[in-house]
Structure formats: structure tokens, C-alpha cells
Subunit: 217 residues, 8 copies
């Protein structure tokens, strides 16, 4: 049966529909991607298993694959046009794939994104040394597994909104990301909004909306 794509989304939301790749076949993804291209909307496919990419690449023009971020994408705009500044931080090395999903999505959406990885609170000086960078950001994305404490610490240091992404990095009483999710929802520092576990894409989308919002003055 045919695919029902929300091609009106670009008009409503300013951003075209993005294809969530998990649980879809290559054939379904290809049909969706082509439909987008027929409507002259650029393609972004998230959570795409590497094994599916060759078939997609053969059928959909201009898409590239970022293996760390598990994203296939069509470049939208030259880099020099990127706007604002979103800093994407991680607490640990194992959180990087989720952070890269966020960073790559930000670039695709048109925001400037700078990584700041491995600044977890077990060595608090690492994040404190980066306050100059953090203070220049319009939005900060904090990606953290284990106990997820970094979001509260960053939230307490800055004036800009913080988007917190719990990751499923950890074991035992981490419960696949439940621990950092609860940590971030209970942050003692206000100014922190939370997205789903491992949802680097969602954090980037929200950060881009914030980053490109027009000034009310």
C-alpha cells in the first residue's frame, strides 16, 4: 500500500518531514525519500541501520551516510550560512553517537554546532574550564548517560536554555536510561528541558527552533 507523507509539514513547521528509519524497510524509506524529493524537500533519515544504506544510496540521489550518527542526509546549504551557536556536550565517550546524531541534525537544519565531549562531573574542572564557550551558546545540548548529573551542573552555570538528552549508556540500576532521565527531569537548576532517551535528533530539532527564533525586541 502507498505511503502517506506529511508534505505539508514544511509549510506548517518550516522544516520538512524527516524520516524515522527504525522499523522501516529499505523499500518504504526509498518511497518516502523520493516523494520528498518530488516535492523539492531535502531528505534526512534518522536511525538508519548501515546495512540499509547501500540500497537507499542506489535509489535516492545525493544522500550521504554518517555512520557514527546513523543518519542519511542530503546536504541542504553551504556551511557558511549556519546560524547561531549550539554547543553539544557529552559526559562520556560512550554518549558520543547520540551527540553526533544531534550535531549532524543541527548542521542539516542550518544551525552552527560545536562539540564539547567528555566533560562529565567526575572531573568537574573539565566543564568549568569551558565556561567561556558555554556562555557564547544560544542553546546547549547536554548528552549524558550513567547518572546524568551534567545537565544540572551546566544548567546552573549559564543563561541560555539547556536541552538534556539522557542516554542508555550504563548498566544495572541505570535501567536503559531511566536513571539519567529522572535526574534530568528533577534538575535542581531550572532552565532545562528534557527529550526522550537517546533522542539526539529531537534535541537538535528543539535546539534549532530555539536558536533561530526571532528576537522579540
Amino acid at each position: 500500500m502507498d505511503v502517506r507523507l506529511d508534505t505539508d509539514r514544511h509549510r506548517r513547521r518550516g522544516i520538512p518531514e524527516i524520516i524515522f528509519g527504525a522499523g522501516k524497510s529499505a523499500a518504504q524509506i526509498i518511497r518516502m525519500a523520493r516523494r520528498l524529493q518530488q516535492h523539492r524537500q531535502p531528505v534526512l533519515i534518522t536511525r538508519l541501520e548501515p546495512a540499509l544504506f547501500p540500497a537507499i544510496q542506489a535509489a535516492v540521489p545525493r544522500v550521504r551516510y554518517d555512520a557514527m550518527a546513523r543518519l542519511a542526509y542530503e546536504d541542504r546549504a553551504p556551511r557558511h550560512a549556519l546560524k547561531g551557536l549550539v554547543v553539544v556536550t557529552t559526559a562520556g565517550t560512550a554518549d558520543i553517537p547520540v551527540a553526533e546524531e544531534a550535531r549532524r541534525t543541527l548542521l542539516w537544519l542550518g544551525s552552527r554546532a560545536v562539540p564539547l565531549f567528555d566533560v562529565g562531573v567526575a572531573g568537574i574542572h573539565r566543564v568549568l574550564q569551558q565556561q567561556t564557550l558555554l556562555r557564547r551558546a544560544r542553546v546547549i545540548i547536554v548528552v549524558a548517560g550513567m547518572e546524568g548529573a551534567l545537565a544540572s551542573v551546566v544548567g546552573g552555570l549559564v543563561r541560555c536554555p539547556v536541552i538534556a538528552v539522557p542516554t542508555s549508556v550504563g548498566y544495572g540500576a541505570n535501567f536503559q536510561g531511566l536513571a539519567p532521565l529522572l535526574t534530568m527531569l528533577n534538575s535542581c537548576a531550572p532552565g532545562v528541558g528534557v527529550v526522550n532517551i537517546d533522542n539526539g535528533f529531537g534535541a537538535a530539532y528543539l535546539a534549532h527552533l530555539i536558536n533561530t527564533t526571532r528576537s522579540p525586541y
Copy 2:
């Protein structure tokens, strides 16, 4: 023993420390409020039981009480100076106290806040009829209990960031707000950030940061 207030917060975050009233005695709150006033920082007390307010009013100059929002506050600025536009929606009538906590906090922080209550998805035309208002907002706060579906619907209609606040309104398998919390974290519409259950204050704080962020252009 003495109170350790974070009077440096205004310098770091642009907003003074706000007193979380739950679980504190009137004496503790008074000591904190006076300390803020000594540092010439305006007072906001959240989650304040009505029974505590008379003692606080007697000891702390200029504070007023909003019974619906359970906030005591000192006015900061004349209304005409309010910036931007934050729309605060609720799905139902029982969600209004949380929404009022958000709205009152936004005014205190300096953002313009407009209420849009009782637009739950059981009568979807109610929110659809308000799209003009929603599209004028720089941020939208969606306050919803029961199943919390309003956040996804609003998220799918607009270009601006949405802050979703699950409430503990409901019963049974609502589990004191767990149901709308999970709904909002799993929103199929991207661009939604979530705060803790019943956390109207936190939503307002985050919305204000977004609302007053400077344009990157």
C-alpha cells in the same frame, strides 16, 4: 543554623535565586527572602502553602500572594515592559493551577504570557480554532494531565518551541502524572521539551530563557 543562599546566581544566570517553598518553614523562607532583599534582588517563592503566607507577609516587605498559582512574589517591573509572547495552554480545567504557576512566573520574569485554557484533544476543533494565536507565540507551554496528548498535537501545528508540562490530574493508570510524562517524552512531533510533573515554574523559566534569547542574525 544559617541559610546559604546562592546570591551569585543573578550574575551567572541573569535571574536571582528563587525560593522553593515546599518543605521549608516560614522562618527559613523569611530568612531567605530578606537575604535576597538585602542583595537588592526581587523575591519569588513557589509552592507556598496559603497558611504560611501571613507570617511571610508580615516579615517581608512588598510580597503579594497568588492563591491559584501558590506563589508569593514581589513585583519586578511594570507590565508594559513585558517582552515577546508565551502562550500557556491547558487541556482541561483541573490543569489550570499549574498553568497559572507558569503564567505568573513568566510575568514576574518579564515575559508576556497569554492563557489559552481548556483546549484538550477530546474536542480537537478548540485548539485548531486558535492557530492564529499559537502562530504568534515565540514559545508555547502545554499543560496537560490525563493522557497528555495535547503536546503532540500543538507540536505538530507550529514553528516555535513547545514546553510540555505533564500534570498529576487523573487517576488510576495515570500514576500521578506518569502517563502524560511518558506521552510527552514520546511525542511523535519533534520540537517538544519536557519538564517535571506539575512543574509550571520550571516550564516558565525555560520559556522565558527561550523568549528572551538574542537573535543570532
Copy 3:
């Protein structure tokens, strides 16, 4: 040891026993299917792994396999005899296998079933445009993963009963379908009954009972 089949079920419930294929060996399933055929009752096998079908096909006459729905079945009646109208909707593409389990079961039971897929609330106009179809249904099945908000929206639009099927489509705080399950149980629109996560078969069975109930007038 021998299989104890509830061959009396057809007399009691109007529908013969249906074989739940998960966790059973091909030999057990074949014994059950043959027993049904000996009692001149048609065969339906749900949750059947594709790898088991060839052995079953070789041993049980007249069964066919629907790979998307994971059902093996014996046709019961010509299509023109199908009764009433059940609309089977999905929020997303990844929910389709569960919806197909429902649709195929409805046809086997003797109900007319029409698919309406990919009408999730992130693009609310998609379901609103289909109100004519929805209003013609005697029962609507809503199949949705992620946050499962579609059930409340559809429930608020129509006069007929809605059967909601949460799916395990999603990740993180979806908790394998717990999020849409809670959403559907807490629907702010009354008139929604819920079945187990991914239980397309159960939704179809219940919808068929409703669809074929005799009028009380």
C-alpha cells in the same frame, strides 16, 4: 502428550478456537489445526514465525500465510458476504504489521475492514480529512506506538466505539509500548476500549463482536 483443544468454543462464543502460534512447535500447531479441521472448524493461527509455515502448509490443507500480519489462515467465506465496516487506522508506518494482523483477522471473522494508515497527530490534518470515512464505521481500531495520542483524537471525533491498540514502536521512555498503553487507558475522550500492546488480533476479535452485534431496537 495430547492436545486439549476447546472445540466447544464455537458453540459458546460463535467463533472457533484460534491458535496462538507464539511459543508452540510446528508439531503442536499441526495437531491443533488438524483437530479443528476434524471438527469442521476453520483454522486461524496468529503470531506464526515464517520459518514454521512450510511444515504447517505441508500438513494442513488449505492454509495460506500473510507475512506482514504473521497469520496463517484458512479462508472461511467469500468476500462479498463481509458485514458492517471496521476502519483500521495507524499513526505511523511502523505500526502497520499490527494493523494488518487486525485487518486480516477481521476479514477471516467476516467483517468488512478498511485500512487508513499513517494519520498520526503530528500532522493532524491527515485524520481530520478522513472524517467522512470515520463516521461511516461501526467500529474504529486505532493502532499507535510512540505516544499513542491518535486514539484520543479519533475518540473525540466520532460516535462509534474505538478500540485502541498500543504498539511497541518507539524507544527509550516508550518502554516497549507502556507509554501508548497508558495514554490510551487515560484517554480524555470516552468511548475507547484498550487491548494489550501489539494485540492486533484481540482488537479485531472485539471489533468483530461489536460490528456484528444485533440491534436492540
Copy 4:
């Protein structure tokens, strides 16, 4: 601020908006009830605390109160016009308030409702002796706390749809109704739809929709 009532609901769904009384003030409820009466729609208020009724009675004409069911209602139609047959069963005596909420709602909506209480599975003969009554029903509502097994047993005996209502009756590992909720969602007998814990109103609403559905033949 003013109340936003969904007065269009009667046109869309055939049933006017019903006021959920929990968490609302008497003043809010009175405003809503009067608005309904202005639109010539009859009033039903669920989950109404007894202490609030006198004020409502004084302000809203024609409403009566059912203390067991915690409902205030305005009679809609003479009894002889009631349609179909819904049997409302309970497993135990403590489940009766929820069942009465269902039974009273059914009468208000216009369905014939017959109680069959105290037929829990610890004495299975009690429900088996009532099979003649059960077989005459167009819909059966099963209200059960503790382990909630009655829904599966009834579901296995009849041809009509079963609406299962878990109650919070029980203690310990009942977890305020979670145990019977899971039981009912996992019913080994198909044909069972589940509503929220203690949601007698919702079960009645769904049962009425099923009971009054038009025949497809």
C-alpha cells in the same frame, strides 16, 4: 476566567459533554452545568464529592445525587425507553461503587442496565449459574479488583463484547489496581476491552456506544 465547554460535542458524538467533577470547585462545576442547560443539554457530573452537592443543587435546577455512584445528574428520559441490555457484574462487594457509577451512567445515557454483583471466581458456580442472563446481554461490564480474574472467565462464556474495569480494591501487590489492570489486558479470552482503573463511567460510555450501534445487516 471563563469556562470553555465543548458544546459541539453532542453534534459530533451524539452525547453532550459530561463534567468530570474531581479537582474542580463548586463554582467551576456550576458554571459548566448552567452553560450546558443554556444549550438545552442534560447534565451529568461524575466523581462529585458529597460535600459539593448542596451548593450545586442550589444553583443548578433538576439535578439529583447518587451517593454510592458519586454522580449528580439530570434525568434525561423516562425509564421505559431504555434500550438493549447491559449486564454490570462485580467480583466483590467492595467493587460495587464503581459498578454503580457504570449502571447509573448507562441509565442516564439511555441503555438498560442490570446488576449482577458478587460473582467473583473464588466461587465460580455463582457466575456459571447466571449464564442465561449473561447470554441475553448485548454488552457485559465486568468490574473487579483483587486479581481481576472474572473478566477472563466471563469473556470465555459469552458471544458479546466484554468491557473490563479494574478497581483499586485490594492491598499490597495489588498496587492500587495495577494487578487487575494487567490481568484484564492479558485476558486469555479474546473479546475483552479494558478501561482505566475505577473508570465505571468510561465503561458505561463505551458499553452504551456498543449497545446502541446500528445493525449492519
Copy 5:
């Protein structure tokens, strides 16, 4: 390092230590089994993966393997010496492996065990027809997944103790056996003791203790 076996257990409890096979290497199991045989205690190994049995068979005299029950065992006594009567029932076909673990363990311990499978409550007549057998039992083991309602029904029919074993058979809101576990703990029929999910061995051990207890008269 060496294995510390509780060889004193036979003196204390009347039954030798039984080897829990899950998570142990063949070498560890062989060392334990030989130690038991050195103390002239018969061997029973539970939860033994089939792949490990050949190595064990080669190293430990007289052990046999029951693939359905996943048990390796050394026969203890001729069958004619078996005592009492334990009836082992299942609700469904998929519950049989757990029931066979119980039945085989009972025989090894010296109790007479009779199977009564596939008598789930969706067809309640199946268990009612077996009341003569059930009334002859000194203990009944009820093995059930899905919603686990069989334990309450059997408990309400008989005078003897009932041991309930929830199984992980089911899906979705079954939560790997949590649903029938809660059902059984909340049984409205008293006289039911519960063991861990899928713990056929533990049920048999407890049933044997009850079955062979000396009369107090």
C-alpha cells in the same frame, strides 16, 4: 578455585543440594555433581542448556536428560514407591515446559505427579470437568502465563493447598510474567502460595514437602 557444596543439606532438610545449572560452566557442574555422588547423594541439575549435557553425561555416571523440562537427573527410586498425589495443571500449551520441570522434579523427589494440561479459564468447563481428579490431590500446582487466572479458579474449587507458578508466557503488558505473578499474589481465593516466575522446580519442591508432611493426628 574449589566448589563449596552444601553436603550437609540432606541431613538438615531431608533432600540433598540440587544444582542450579543456569550461569554455570560444564566444568563447574561436573565438579558439583561428582562431589554429590562422592557423598552418595543423588544428582539433580535444573535449567541445564541442552548443549552442556553431553559433556556432563560423559563425566557423571547415571545421569539422564529431560529436554522439555531442561533437567538432568539421576533416578533415585523405583516408581512404585511414589507417594501421595500432586496434580500439575497448566492454563496453556506454552506453559508445559515449566510444568514438566515441576512434574519431573516431583518424581525425582519421590512424589506421585499427574499432569492436567490446557485447562485455562477461557474454556472454564475444561477445569470444571476435572474436579474429581483435583479433589483427590494432596497438593495442586497451577502453572499459568498470560493473566494467570487459573490459580484463583482452582483455589476456589478444592480443599488442598495450591502452589501457583506464574510463567513468562505472553507479551506486551504481560511484562515477562509480572501480570500472572500479581494475579496469583492477589488471588481472591485463599489457600494459594506463589513461587517465582517460571519456577517449576521450586513449586515441585514445596509441593513435595507438603505432600510428604506427616499427619498431626
Copy 6:
């Protein structure tokens, strides 16, 4: 409406229906108790709030109240006729009300019951010193809150069945008895059956069935 009592229960199960007092009004309980007495069956009412007893005492002849156990009961038999031996142990002092519910129920049912309180594992010598008593029991009931470890320790010392009753004694990560419930279900010593949290009555009922079972020899 009238009360449906299972007066057949005595014939089926050897024990009359017992009235669960929680959530019932005095009037309902009195009607049930009188019905039992009309059928010459003795009365036992569990979980009876002290405030309800005077009304019941005035209306139902011969009932007495045990405030610690929260039971009202009619004496059934002279004490010298009590059979077997059930030892009722507690880990701590706060567990005693649940243990007394069990002990009083045992006496009412006709079993000999001996208390052994305050023998928790923090002072393991206390239970070890009582092994002579424990070895004389036909059944042991272990009542324990906090972490509930006593059940495993007792289970490892004796030949008779152990009935474990988790209590809601504790705080924090005890989760109202969930912690000892899980402990007891996972007991490393086999021969332990578990009943619901705080269910002293249910433990006694099961223990009595075991205690009075006839010898198979």
C-alpha cells in the same frame, strides 16, 4: 441490594466464607455475618477497623475482637482440639500485627499456633537458637518487612514448608513491601511459598490446609 454470600464454600473447601472487612460498611458486614450464622457457619471478619466493631458486636451474637490482629471472630472449638503445629515468626516488632492476624486465624481454623517473634537476621543467633522449636513445626510462617531475608534463612534450616509473608514495614526503597516481596519470591532456599504483602490471614489459611492435610502413607 442484597448480599450474595458463597455459603456453598464450606462444602467445597471445608472452611466457610470469611468476610474481608476492608472497604465494607458495618451494615454490609452485619448482613453477611448474620447470613453465615443462619447457615450455622462460624464468623470470621478480617481487616476490621476498630471503629466498626461496636455496631457489629451489637448486631451479631458471640463475636469478639482482637485489636492487634484487627479480626472479629466467633470461637469455633475448644482449644484442646487444636491440631498440628504452626510456628509464626517475625523478623521485627513492627511485623507483629500481621503475625497476630495469622496466629488468631490459625486458632480459629483449628490449628495450633506458636509465636516466635523478633528473630530477624541482623542477630542471626536468635533464630539459630530456636531450631528445636522450628524442627517440630509442620509449617512455619515467616513474617518480615525491611529486606525480608528471614524467609531464606529459615527455609534453609528446616524440612517443613515455609509460608513467607512480606510486610509493608520499612521506608524508602522498601516501596511498601515490594522489597521483601521480591526477596521472598527469589529465595535461594527452596520450599518457600509467598502470599501477598501484609496478608497474615492468607498465610494462616494456607498453613492450616498444609497442617491438616491427610498423610498419603
Copy 7:
């Protein structure tokens, strides 16, 4: 019945049995306290409701009450004999009662205890400014509710063991202390041991054992 006190505990563990006051009557507590005094062991009663203290004070010589810590105690030793240094920190003001339970217990046990309150991570400079004090400690107790992030930050700064106490301070997705409990169990900084929610006493007991352990050199 009589009280079974573990008077041997002082010999085994070096510390006498301490009375857990929650859920005990004044009479039970008095009997226990007197028994301890008969054995010349000093009295400490935790979680004692203020309303019970007057009766206890009248019956047990030399006990005093600390209302903030909810402890009754008999002084053991002059202050100048206190050993080592335990720093007791809190994240917020509402955590102080739990911290005071810890501090008072430490003094009673014979450890030197210094408070360091209100140093939560929302203002990270507060704890960083106290590193000199923290580095002098032999053990640090971190008491924190909300998201509990302080434990990880302190753990990353020091060489000594950290005992983390989650508190039930918070709301919504805090789940009565579950959020900080999981945070502390998942601490990315090693060297942190966790005790039960709100268990200030247990933290102090463990800290005292560590503080007074003899050097192995």
C-alpha cells in the same frame, strides 16, 4: 508478649542495638530502652514521633530529644573524645532533617561531625569553595533529594569514601526519592556507597565504622 532485644549486639558489632521507633508504641519502646539500660548499654531511638517523647522521657532516665533529627538519645561520652572527621553535606535546605539525623547519630556513636549544608550543584561554586574542608574529612556523607547530583560531584573531588543518602525531597518524577537513589547508584565517580532513601541514621552508622576503622599499616 515480651520483647526480644539483641543485647549481644554490642559484643559482636561494638555498638549496642539501636531502637527503630517507627511503627512501635511508646510502651514497646520503653520496654526496649529499659532493657538496654539494665544491660548498661546507652539508648538511641530513631524516627521517634514527637508526640511519643513525653511518655518515654517520663519512663526512661537521661534521654533527650532532637526534634529536627527525630531522635531520642542518651549521651554516651563527653564531646572532647570525638574521633576523626565526618563532613555531612546537603544539597538543599529541605534535606537538613535527614542530615541532622546523621550528624546527631555520629556524635552519639563518638565521631566528630561537621555540617556543610546548602551546597547543591545548581550553584557549583558553593561546594568547590569548600574543598579544603572536604579534603580534611575521613568520610563524607552527601544528603540530597531532587536529582541527587551532588554525590557524583563530591565523589569526583576527594580521596575519602563518600556515603550517599537520597532523600524524598522533590515531587513528580522524583517518585519519593527514587530519582536521587538511581542517580547515586549510577554515580560516574567511583568511591560512593549508597544507603536507603532518607536513611540518615544508616549513613552515619556506616560512616562511623569507616571513620574508626584501625589503620592496616
Copy 8:
């Protein structure tokens, strides 16, 4: 991108950063290990899959692999210099890998570690016979799955701190270690600190800090 190692950790905490191997590539681990060696800090890699070790061994000098403990390590000091005494106990055989992770880490850190395995409470005499060894320890680590009762029993016998490590050994209502985790957090014996499920490394780290703390006298 480059690796950000906390090479300052040795100065702050007395122990260098330890590499958590799970979820990292061989290349990432090698870069981190070399960085440590450049700073003359010894290497310890935890949770290292065996398949990754050959590549690491080829690239990082002097590392060895302990397959049972899943650790790669560089020897730090001759054994004769080991300090204090930490006893590492397990309840069962399947808990040994976690205990070995602890024991190997202790040796690497410089503590003397003695194993005491298979002393679970189902045969309580096993741990009671080892009291002389237990009393010589400065710290005891208790590693236990299933119900985890050993921690409470050991805690009640000794004067030294106990570190409890729940393991994921078990099935069903064990919930991957949740059952022993709750048991240990609720230990009725004070003096027990808990670490994450299966966290043998964390227990060792904490035990070493305690073991090497300087005496306050």
C-alpha cells in the same frame, strides 16, 4: 575527534582514571591507555570484551587480561606490598565473575583481597563457620544475586563496614538484579553501603578507600 582524559584525577583522588571498556571501540581504548602511560599512570580497563583484548595487547605495553573478571590491567606493585584485608564473599557460584572483578581491582589498587565464595544463606552454617576470617577484615564485600540476603546476615555479624553488590544472577521476579538491590538497600543490619548491580569494580574502589584510610587516633 580526540579523547579528553581526566589525567588530573590521580592528583585529586590518589588513583588515576580507570577506563570503563563497555561501549568503547578498541581504538578509543588504546588512545586512552596510551595517554595514561604517557602521564606515567598505570592502566586498568574494566568490562572489556575478550574479543577486543588482542588489539589492545598489541598496542599497549605490559597489559594482561583476566577473563573471569573481564579486566585488562597493568601490574602496579609487587604483591608483598598489599595493605589491609578485604574479604570478598559471594552467595553463589554464578556471582563469582563480579567478585573476581572486585578482587582483581583491589589487588591492582594495592589492597589485600581474600575470596570467600559460595556461602549463601540457604546453608547458613557456611558463613557462620568463617567468622574468624570475617572478623579480621577491615572491609567485607558481599556479592549476591537471587534475593541477596547474605549482605544483611554478614552485616549483623561483624564490626567492619560491608559493601554490598547486588548481581543480576537470577530470573523472573529478580528483574535483572532489582530484587537483591532492594534487599541490600533495606538491610535490617546497619553498616551496609550499596553499589550498582554487578558493579564489582565500584565495590572494590570504595573498599580500597576505606581500607587505606588513615587512622584518626
